[in-house]
Amino acid sequence: MEKLLDIQHLKVDFTMKDGDLTAIKDVSLHINIGETVCIVGESGSGKSVTSKAIMRLIDYENGKISAGSIVLDGMDLAQLSQKKLRSICGKKVAMIFQEPMAAFDPVFTIGSQIIETILENKQFTKLQAKERALYLLNRVGISDPALRLNQYPNELSGGMLQRAMIAMALACGPDLLIADEPTTALDVTIQAQILKLLQEIKEEFGMSILLITHDMGVAAQMADRIIVMYAGRIVEYATVSQMFELPHHPYTRGLLQSITTIDSDRSKKLYSINGSIPGLADLPPGCQFHPRCPFATERCSMELPPLREVNDRYTACWYAEDLVESFDWKQPSGETKNDRHSIKEIVLSDSKRGSEPLFTIQQLSKFYPIGKKSPFSRNSSYLRAVENVTFTIEKGETFGLVGESGSGKSTLGRVLLQLEKPTSGKVFFQGQDLSKLDAKELREKRRNMQMIYQDPYGSVNPRWKVGDIIGEPLQVHDSLSAKDKHDRVQDLLEVVGLNKSSFNLYPHEFSGGQRQRIAIARAIALNPQFILADEAVSALDVSVQAQIVNLLQDLQRERDLTYLFIAHGLNIVRHVSDRIGVMYLGQMVEMAPSETLFLHPAHHYTKGLIDSIPIADPARTRERISLKGEIPSPANPPAGCRFHTRCPAATARCREEQPIFREIHTGHWVACHDPL
């Protein structure tokens, strides 16, 4: 096969205030014509720097290529002047990014930004460029392209923008498309659509793709070959089937085992890689993975293993040959299997049957007024964020909520905790109607209900010390002496797996996973009965995600906690939840025990969601019939069954009559005229 791009021994440094920092080192890889290569690894491992180095975008961020070559078409991009590079950027190589909203200039129309790119290719007239823009928008599946051409980025949804971004990348017919986490910010349904689109246009335009992702499922589905990076170096390099069949590097193995899948055993603890990825400034000596590697020896902590060929692939581990032969290697997450847990689990789910509800939610609705921002506009209408939702959360269980963004999950959570007043309906907590409580009684109740959010850094004061952050709820609710408080906080730090000496550090001195531990410590400080976890693990890398989920489950067992667990990662919700509710456009459309929901989904929306999950197994890539279209606006929901605009089984009845939420089997509720 012919090489399109050949990178050899690439090293990138960033000039910082106190000297140079090496971000990636000795990175060698190539991409053949028509091939898709994926780079995977935790955040901070150097994936984006590698991809940005190709078009030398790092030049603008105080970065420089200090060694190595990047050869495309016989030209070494590492040596070209910025001026010469302009004939490559956007023409031979194009790039798309993670946050489509941030990637467009907000004050120019989509059309003008695409046309501007096309016009870079001097052969086109303005009129031809506009025609090509229309053609491209149409090709990437944007309906009504003539209208979209004149719209501004804020007028399009994230999925639409990512399509437009792809259209813009195709403007000059590139040979290589670099896609840096193109679907990470999108819902799983939209992700499936975008991935499919990428595959189609790759064939059609005869491109190669360099895809960067932290999702092994996405890599399994898309890649011909996979490159695993860790701490700025390539640690393994193999074809997709080799990689999933038998990873050769302990880090790759760890990544693969951290994945939860639809059929992984819920009663087992999630496998997680210990610790977290080191910062560039304090890389460990020897094998950079050795502090986290269960197989590390003394040699590993002193000598850096080179990337070398082992069994037809490349890996950077001293013991790869021996390790893959060992019994332990193939045993999936054997060492963390926790028998005590699974027994407890069974006992718990048995005893739960008769247990009393902690939360009872009756016909709860939350509408936000819209369009009445001026006294001169008369008609006011409502955004129906949550409408007529009825369910219970039992004591000691984890109730999961899933659904695309905009389906009302977070709003439901906020209304449940009375952080916002419901428009109608009731919320009972321990049998007490929360809306009847006055401010003081509510404050008393609140100590029993805590929450953890996605971005723990955003919800704490960055100027406070960790000890004060965790101790704050104690201050507000309990009048403890300073010493007692200090002791309590230190206990809490230990409970969540942090060092006692963390007390006097500031949040920015911690990694994402550790900050989430701080948030958890704060949440459990008052011994609550209930915790709302809204996307609490969504921003974390899989290995760290697993650590946090395990911690949450341990705490649940020890402290008899009840969780409402909101997340858009379906596999993780399946793993932690006893029962799951599926929301669509403000309504609950299905509710069932976790296994039932995933094995026998009854609502067509649930089925569509599940089918959109990328499978982390290249052998099982199915011809997916993922959900079409996007979630409509909650300001103007479709009549009848709200899902009918996207449902493959919709009938005339569905368009007119709203299905009732009814129990089809014990504990399995669904709102559909014609369930699966």
């Binding site: 940005k52 078009m55 975008l57 603008y60 910025q82 590079l85 302009r86 004939s87 490559i88 950027c89 956007g90 023409k91 194009a94 790039m95 990014f97 946050e99 941030a102 990637a103 467009f104 200039d105 907000p106 004050v107 120019f108 129309t109 501007e116 790119t117 870079e120 501004y152 804020n154 007028e155 971004m165 813009m168 403007a171 819209i370 369009g371 921002k373 001026s374 006294p375 001169f376 506009s377």
Partner: protein, 310 residues
Amino acid sequence: MTLVNKVLLKISTAFVSIIGSSILVFSIIYLLPGDPVLSMIDPSVATPEMVANLRKELGLNQPFYIQFSEYFMNVLQGDFGQSVVNSEPVLPKIVEHFPATLALTITSAVLSVVIGVTFGVLSAIYRNKWIDIIARIIGLFGISMPTFWSGILLILIFSVYLNWLPSIGSDGWKTLVLPSLSLGLVGAGFIIRMVRNSMLDVINEQFIVTLRAKGLSERVVMYRHALRNALIPAITIIGLNIGELLAGTVVIETVFSRQGIGRIVADAIMAKDLPVIQGVVFFSAIVYVVINLLVDLSYSFIDPRVRRAH
């Protein structure tokens, strides 16, 4: 909200601000210590009767709200009252002197925007290069130097030593140069800082990376895309700045002996000529509010997110 609705809303808010500021001015003067009537007649010859008559004549024995509403109704009919010093009607006096002030305000506004935006942009693009350092020095001077000081300095350099430009007067463009420069520098200082900061913010945005990845030239990336984004927050500052300029004319017109309304009000304050002060302040409030209204509306035309929001 439609654009028409938005414009209506803005205009009515502007109207409310005018009424509000006139109430404020009126009450400040009303509450000011000292009897205005006593300052009008020579206390050595004043009898209590004369005082009482004059007070009645001026309507000063009425309660506050009646005084105010009468004044306000008169103003609506274009009657701003008369000077107590020489009985000249206030409005014609303002109208006569306003063009000189307007010319000064406009030229210094233009100067401050041109200097401010140019140096602000260049200093962000050539961060830490010599042009950035010059721009930051201009910014520092503009912000920290009082206008009367820079005015005198300019007179010394350009009129006294170089003899290039006249130091006083208000006729002909030559008399405008120095006052608008010294007034414009203040605004320029603020605008340089504002534009520089907002340019630096924009340059760090993700979409700038996209534009570079598309292979656009740095010139297009900076002057077509980054600048337009950076100007949006800068416009607010420019609007506020024009209000500052208006206030600054009081000092500058005195320093350069220009016959503008700033000068009138300065004289009126010396003479405790309340109707004139009131009239000028009220008039300026209207001008200020109108300018801000225009700035606000121009905002909606420059930023599509504001224009198209719902």
